[in-house]
């Protein structure tokens, strides 16, 4: 999504909405979380959620605008967004794109296709060989 943001930030606004943790240590922790040193308990208050969100921003120098869902999970409920989901809201405040439920139907390429249909495709050079450094990707596996 960061690449899509960089390609289309002159045409569209982007907002990351941080929701309840998908794989906290005290619920369903995945092996990949341990391997990547992403080990956090499910926040019990807003301050804990804010702290984890800030850790993410700092680790990956995440550039996209950020909003954190309050501990009552109102935004997550309104958008059925857990564990991850993509939406596009058009200029008139209506839903223009509603992504599938993550993780299996979370598809940034669909967002790219929507933006490309409006503003034109942005081509890139073939990617360089994978480096050891992790790439920022909220929600989806790094």
């Amino acid at each position: 999504m960061v690449q899509i943001y960089n390609d289309y930030k002159d045409h569209a606004d982007f907002l990351t909405v941080y929701v309840r943790e998908a794989h906290p240590t005290d619920e369903w922790q995945m092996k990949s979380n341990v391997k990547d040193d992403v080990c956090y308990a499910q926040p019990k208050n807003l301050g804990q959620r804010v702290a984890i969100a800030n850790d993410f921003i700092k680790r990956f120098h995440y550039p996209i605008a950020f909003g954190i869902d309050d501990i009552n999970n109102a935004a997550e409920a309104a958008y059925s967004a857990w564990p991850e989901r993509l939406y596009i809201i058009d200029e008139s405040g209506h839903i223009a794109y509603r992504g599938g439920m993550g993780p299996f139907h979370y598809d940034p390429d669909e967002v790219r296709a929507w933006l490309a249909a409006r503003y034109g495709a942005v081509k890139h050079d073939p990617p360089a060989p994978a480096s050891a450094a992790p790439v920022a990707s909220l929600g989806s596996p790094i």
Binding site: I4, H11, A12, D13, F14, L15, T16, V17, Y18, V19, R20, E21, A22, P24, E27, W28, Q29, M30, N33, V38, L46, G47, V50, I52, A53, N54, D55, I57, F66, G67, I68, D69, D70, A74, A75, A78, Y79, S80, W82, P83, E84, R85, L86, Y87, I88, I89, D90, E91, S92, G93, H94, I95, A96, R98, M101, V111, L115, R118, L138, G139
Partner: protein, 88 residues
């Protein structure tokens, strides 16, 4: 009659085992199946929003932990791409 019950139970057990194996394949391991059923399924909802619906509003908190803003404040003028997710 007992014969029918035995077959019914046997079919039920086979179906349950098949479902468990499918979930293991999806989740990765029996431990992950438990995690998925116990913690993920209760929170996963398809939802009822459709393209064309009014985008719901909600109040969000800024990274400083104190400032607040509404999603609606970020709409209008240009499309808004919303990325929902978490670090883990």
């Amino acid at each position: 009659m007992t014969h029918i019950w035995k077959w019914t139970i046997a079919v039920f057990v086979v179906l349950l085992l098949a479902a468990f194996l499918v979930l293991c394949k999806m989740a990765g391991s029996p431990k992950d199946v438990y995690g998925m059923v116990r913690y993920a399924f209760p929170h996963m909802h398809r939802g009822t929003l459709k393209v064309g619906d009014d985008a719901p509003d909600a109040r969000l908190v800024a990274l400083d932990g104190s400032d607040r803003f509404h999603i609606r404040e970020r709409t209008g003028g240009r499309p808004l791409v919303m990325i929902f997710g978490s670090y883990t």
